[in-house]
Amino acid sequence: MPKALLLLILIATLTLQAQQPVAKRSMVIAFQLYAGDQPLQPGTCYTTPQGDSVYIERFRFYVSSPRFNNSTTRQANGYYLVDMADSSSRYITLPINTAAPSQFRFLLGVDSLRNVSGVQTGALDPLNGMFWTWNSGYIMAKLEGISPQSPAAGQRFTYHIGGFRSTQNTAQQISLNIPANHRGDTLWVRADALRWFGPGFPLRIQENPVCHSPGALAVHIAGNYRHMFLVVQP
């Protein structure tokens, strides 16, 4: 009798173990927020490519469907909000299928489907302050701060970049090459906030201290910030 019981427990344990998912390899994407070639710090003065002085106080962007070029499936719930104010938000863990992916890809912003599908949860919860209520749609990326060149109240500059309709689209497909000699389980990706100001479209704070709605200015700025990423070696 006790032997049979032992056997039963053994079988049960084995069955449970078999149901555990097989541990996969994974890689951590670590975003480093930078201003030019310096780590981004609040309260520090930087100079934009247009020669304006900026203190950057808020820097946020959405990373959607992050994946490697050789992965077959996208992340199940692949929406992340990288936020200057929350250091834990800068790390994204992704599974790797094969040995060495050569590209890291993601959508900078939120795809149009999520912009028209009602209220979302998690990183896409409107609670995160990255959603326009009066003109439905996500703010794909945000950059705010203070600049002596700004004619706005409190010398503020405020760039809330959004718009998902065809002519106003600000979501950007990003593909980053991973160097062949990359080693380790962490991929460091630098995001340079100063690339919002140029080159490409020269964003002068004196002329445009504020962008709050979809349209031409937002599309221009999105055309700049799509180049802000760079894979770096530690």
Binding site: N115, V116, S117, G118, V119, Q120, T121, D125, P126, L127, F131, T133, W134, N135, S136, G137, Q168, S213, P214, G215, A216
Partner: protein, 356 residues
């Protein structure tokens, strides 16, 4: 022998427990509600599969709709500007009254038949019903509250924790559940029992002026206000001059396209006699002012609707008959339905003498 009895009893208990765990606890789950499409109406555009109606969900939505704690100072609920006796528009107010003696820039629209509506607000800026409550709750001149604070207030109220659990299975309160519950309630606000509807169903007949009015309506109004919703949900410029204070360009604010300047959503005419004043900024006090606008004061501009290029001639006789017809669109079954009134109160079908 003794052991055998103990073991049998234990097995019996275990079996009954697993049976209970595996059973379908219909009495613990929210009770599904079927959304009824009125006879002859198209299928709704709202995706009910993403937010299935339940009795508990609708009840929670109604509590939220009538809860003034959704506003910053606890003075305004959704129901403050969307009053049942006015088909859920604001009775007798051109612009709605918001937080701290502020005024909004537009006239509160009636809330009815929302399941068939794809875009919301006068400019269509909101593309999903679930997103709609976020705008008035957070707008400075409306309820002026933050979403974080609203959810915080709900989470600290044990009654709401119970209501959310009943509607969604657990006590978790988040933006999505909050807005889905409000959607569930407002989706039930279907107006399809006016005299016009009874006549169309063969249950009633028009008196002569109503019948003549209906014929004039079919000639002069129906291209923008077709049945069964009495709107085609399009955006049009009916030649209302720009208000110098409000500077409201309407649809252009959303699309950025100059061709959309001064265009606003065609409003439904259901319950129109209860939803005065009229126009996106409530500038027309009565239907008489509206008729006068159409026949005398249409301002021709680059975006004025092509159907109004030559104005819209209406004789005094026609206006009289049209008015009689418009009265048949009043649905008192809807404005008196106790399911739509605040819980614990009777139907609020007749407006108070003074609403301010």
């Amino acid at each position: 022998m003794k052991h055998r009895i103990t073991i049998s009893v234990l097995i019996l208990i275990i079996l009954s427990c697993t049976g209970w765990i595996w059973a379908d606890h219909a009495y613990l789950k929210p009770k599904p509600v079927t959304f009824t499409v009125p006879q002859g109406w198209p299928q709704p555009v709202y995706d009910f599969s993403q937010n299935p109606l339940t009795q508990e969900g609708i009840t929670l939505g109604r509590e939220l709709f009538y809860d003034p704690r959704l506003s910053k100072d606890g003075s305004l609920s959704c129901g403050s500007c969307h009053q049942q006796f006015s088909a859920f528009a604001t009775y007798d107010h051109n612009l709605s009254h918001g937080f701290n003696n502020s005024l909004t820039t537009r006239n509160a629209p009636a809330l009815q038949n929302l399941a068939w509506q794809k875009e919301f607000m006068w400019d269509g800026g909101i593309n999903h019903l679930d997103l709609q409550p976020l705008a008035p709750i957070t707008a400075e001149h409306e309820m002026a509250e933050s979403l974080q604070h609203v959810l915080q207030k709900l989470k600290t109220d044990s009654r709401y924790r119970r209501l959310f659990k009943a509607a969604f299975g657990d006590e978790n309160i988040n933006t999505q559940r909050f807005t889905k519950a409000i959607s569930q309630f407002v989706l039930t606000l279907v107006s399809s029992n006016s005299k016009y509807d009874r006549v169309m169903r063969g249950q009633d007949t028009f008196i002569l002026p109503e019948k003549l009015g209906y014929q004039i309506f079919q000639q002069k109004c129906v291209s923008c206000h077709p049945a069964p919703f009495f709107t085609d949900f399009s955006y049009r410029n009916i030649g209302m001059p720009l208000d110098p204070v409000l500077q409201d360009l309407g649809r252009m604010k959303i699309t950025g396209n100059p061709a959309d300047s001064l265009k606003f959503k065609v409003p439904s005419l259901r319950n129109v006699m209860r939803t005065f004043p009229y126009g996106h900024d409530g500038r027309f006090f009565s239907t008489i002012n509206l008729f006068d606008h159409y026949r005398k004061s249409i301002q021709q501009g680059p975006t004025t609707d092509s159907l109004l290029r030559k104005g819209l001639p209406l004789s005094n006789f026609e206006i009289g008959q049209l008015t009689a017809f418009l009265y048949t669109l009043t649905d008192t079954v809807f404005t008196k339905d106790p399911r739509f009134a605040p819980s614990g109160s009777g139907p609020s079908a007749s407006p108070p003498k003074d609403v301010h």
